[in-house]
Symmetry: C2
C-alpha cells in the first residue's frame, strides 16, 4: 500500500474528529501536512459532534413530523458551521483555505428531501480555488436541487459527498477519517479480539456497510466501486494506515469469511393473511417506496389456503411511515392484520469466498442454535448471509459467529 | 393609524421573539392570524436568542481574528436554523410555508464580508411562492455576492433585509417585531418615566438609531426613507400598536425634542500633534475607511503652532483595527502619538424642531454642567446634538436631559 499519494487527495472528517476547537485545530494540522507533501487537498466535513442530533431535537420540539424540505434546510446548517470553523483553523496556521456549502460547489441532487441522491457534481469552482493553491473545504451531507432547494443525503451522507468529489476530480484516494482505525471483523466494542481488516473489496465492503458496519455509508462504497475510487478508512487520531477498499482482484488476502456485522436499527413488520395473488407484493412495496420508506429484508412465506404472510424490515426511523402505509394496505387488500416488532437485530456474515463454501450457512445456523438463539428471518446473497434474531441475543450471536469462523486477532 | 393593512405585509421577528420552541410557535400563530386577515405575508427572522454570540464564541476558540469570509459562512447558519424551525411551526398549524436563505431569494450584496450592503433583491422566487398562497420565510442578516459567496449585513442586519424586501415587494407596511413595544423617549431601563413615541419621522428615527437607540438598525431606516416604506416597530408579546416611522409631513404630533439616546459601545481615539497641513485629515480617514473601520464623530481642534489634535470615535468592535491604522499613521505623519479611551458614552438629544430653537444646545450643556458632568466632545446636526462624556456618568446624564426637556410620561 502506498503511503504517500501525490496529486489530488480528498479527505473526509466525521463529526467526532472535529467535535471541539482542539480537534478542529488538529485536523487542520493534518490537512496542512498532507498539503505540504505536495498534494492538492479537498476536505469534506460532517457536522460537529452531536450537532445533527441537537438540530433534530429542536425540530421535534416544534412538531413531531417536520416537513422534510424544512428539515433539510435546518440540518444543512450543521456542516456549514463545520466548514467555516475548519477554514478559520487552516487560516490560523498561515495557509489559504476556502469553505463551500453543497450549493456553492454544485452538488446537484434529486428532490427527495432527507434522502437525496447526487445527480451531478459541478466542480468548476473547486478547480479554480485549487489552482490558487487553496485548501478547499466542502460541507458534506448536503446538496441542492436544480430549483435551488437545499437537500440532504441521509445519515452518513458526508462519505458519499467525499467519494463523489473524489470520483469527479479523479482524486488518487479518498481518505475517510473517523474515530476508529479501520474496518473490523466485528464491532470491537462487542468482540474483544476483533481484528482490523487491511484490505477489502468493494463488494465485501458494500455488504458489510449494508448489514450494519457503520464506518461507511453504503452509497459511498457503491460510488467508489462505480468510479474506481480507492477509499482509505482510517483514524483521525493516529498516523497508522487503516483499511483500504478497492477492486476485488487487487485484494491480496483471500479469506472465506471477512467479518460479522450487526444492526439493531431495524424493525420488522409482518402483514398477516394476505390473499396470495399475482401483483400483491408489487403493490405493497410500491406503496412503501412511494412513501420513501427504505425496505431492507423481504420474506414471503409459502402460501396456505390461498393466503400468505409478508414480512419485511425497515429502519426504525421509517417505522411510523411504513406502519401508516401498511395499515392502509391491510384494509385495501382485506388482509387479516399486521404485526410490528422493534426488538430485533440483524446479524450478517460477509465474505467473497462464501459462494464456493456451501457449508458456511449451516455452520452459521448451528452456531446460533448452539447458543439457543432463534432465527426469525433469513436472507442471503452471494457474499453474505443475514439472520434476524431477538435484539437481546445480539452480543452472544456476534461473538459466537466471530469465534466459530476464527476471525479473532489471536488466530488471524 | 390603520390597524389592518390588506395586501402584502413584511414582518420581521428578532432573536428574542423566537428564542425557544414556545415563542416560535407563538410567532407562527401571529403570522397565520395576519394571513387569515387576507394578507400575503413575508416573514424575515434573525438568529434564535443568543445564537450569533455563541457562533462568534466558537470562532474565537479557533482563532482570535477569524477571516471574515469564513465568519460570514459561520454566522449565516444562525438565521437558516430560524427560518427552518419557523417554517415547521407554520406547517404544524396546517398552513403552507417555505423558507429561504438570503442566497435563495437573491439578496445580492457587495463583497464586504461582515458588513455587506444590499445591491439588489431578486424577488422572483418569493412572488412565485406568494402566488401559491404560501407564507414565505426569509433568513435575515445575510446575502450573497455575484460570485455566490455568503455575506452578512452586520449586527441588526435583519431589519435591513426586512425593509429591503418591503421596498422591493411594494409592501403596505414593514412590521419590526421586537421585545420592546416601540421607540421610547429614552431607554426605559435607565429612565423610569420614559414614554413610548407613537409616530416619528424617518429623519428623527435615523438620528435616534445612529446615536444609540438599538431598536432599529440605521440602514433599515435609510432604506425605509429612500423607498417610502412605512415601518411599524412593535412588540411580539402584545397586540398593542408600537411606533410608526414615516415621512415627516405625515407625522401628526410636533415636538421640539423627540428623545434622548445614549451609546456606550464606542471608544475615542485621539491623534496628538498632527502637522496642520491640507490633506492630513483625508489621509487619516481614508486609511480608516480602507480598513473598514466605521468612524462616527470626528473633532479637529484649532491648530496651535502648526500642530493640531484629531479625535474620533469608533465602535469598540472596530477599536483594534482602528488603533492599528492610527499607529502606522502616527509614524508616517510624524505625529506626537495617540491616545485611546474606551470608557466613554455618547448621549444625544433628537428632535426635528431643534433647528428653530437655538436655546436647546445651551439647555443641554447646562443640564449636564448642573450635574457636574464634563463634556469631552460635541457634534451637532440639524436635528440632533451629541456629547461624549465619561461612561460612568451616562445614567445621570440621560435622566437629567429627559427631565430637563419634559419628555416623561407624567408630563407628556
Amino acid at each position: 500500500m502506498r503511503d504517500v499519494f501525490l496529486g489530488i487527495i480528498v479527505q473526509k472528517y466525521g463529526g467526532s474528529s472535529i467535535a471541539n476547537a482542539e480537534r478542529i485545530k488538529n485536523v487542520a494540522k493534518r490537512i496542512v501536512k498532507t498539503k505540504n507533501q505536495g498534494n492538492s487537498v479537498i476536505v469534506v466535513v460532517s457536522a460537529l459532534g452531536d450537532t445533527t442530533d441537537n438540530l433534530l431535537k429542536m425540530a421535534h420540539e416544534i412538531t413531531p413530523s417536520p416537513p422534510e424540505r424544512e428539515l433539510d434546510m435546518l440540518l444543512a446548517t450543521g456542516e456549514q458551521v463545520s466548514v467555516a470553523l475548519l477554514g478559520m483553523a487552516i487560516y490560523s496556521l498561515g495557509y489559504e483555505a476556502i469553505s463551500f456549502t453543497g450549493q456553492q460547489v454544485g452538488i446537484v441532487t434529486d428532490a427527495v428531501h432527507t434522502k437525496a441522491k447526487i445527480l451531478d457534481v459541478r466542480s468548476k469552482r473547486i478547480m479554480e480555488e485549487i489552482k490558487k493553491d487553496k485548501v478547499v473545504i466542502v460541507a458534506g451531507f448536503q446538496g441542492v436541487t436544480i430549483d435551488n432547494d437545499i437537500t440532504t443525503l441521509g445519515r452518513g451522507g458526508s462519505d458519499t459527498t467525499a467519494v463523489a468529489l473524489a470520483a469527479k476530480l479523479k482524486a488518487d484516494v479518498c481518505e475517510i477519517y473517523t474515530d476508529v482505525d479501520g474496518v473490523y471483523t466485528a464491532d470491537p466494542r462487542m468482540v474483544s479480539d476483533a481484528k482490523k481488516i487491511d484490505e477489502i473489496s468493494f463488494d465485501e465492503m458494500l455488504e458489510m456497510a449494508a448489514t450494519g458496519a457503520k464506518v461507511l455509508q453504503v452509497r459511498s462504497v457503491e460510488f467508489g466501486q462505480n468510479y474506481g475510487v480507492y477509499i482509505h478508512v482510517r483514524s483521525s487520531f493516529s498516523e497508522e494506515p487503516g483499511t483500504l477498499i478497492k477492486e476485488a482482484d487487487k485484494v491480496m488476502e483471500k479469506a472465506v469469511i471477512r467479518g460479522v456485522t450487526h444492526d439493531i436499527d431495524e424493525a420488522k413488520i409482518t402483514i398477516l393473511g394476505v390473499p396470495d395473488k399475482p401483483g400483491i407484493a408489487a403493490r405493497v412495496f410500491r406503496a412503501l417506496s412511494d412513501a420513501n420508506a427504505n425496505v431492507d429484508m423481504i420474506i414471503q412465506n409459502v402460501s396456505e389456503k390461498g393466503f400468505t404472510d409478508i414480512s419485511f424490515t425497515v429502519t426504525k426511523d421509517d417505522l411510523i411511515k411504513a406502519k401508516d402505509v401498511v395499515d392502509k394496505i391491510v384494509v385495501e387488500l382485506g388482509a387479516r392484520g399486521s404485526l410490528c416488532d422493534e426488538n430485533i437485530a440483524k446479524i450478517s456474515l460477509i465474505g467473497a469466498g462464501m459462494i464456493t463454501h456451501p457449508g458456511v450457512a449451516a455452520d452459521m445456523f448451528s452456531a446460533l442454535a448452539g447458543n439457543n438463539i432463534n432465527i426469525e428471518m433469513i436472507s442471503t446473497s452471494s457474499i453474505k448471509i443475514s439472520c434476524v434474531i431477538d435484539e437481546k441475543d445480539v452480543g452472544v450471536a456476534v461473538r459466537a459467529l466471530h469465534d466459530k469462523f476464527g476471525l479473532g486477532s489471536n488466530r488471524g
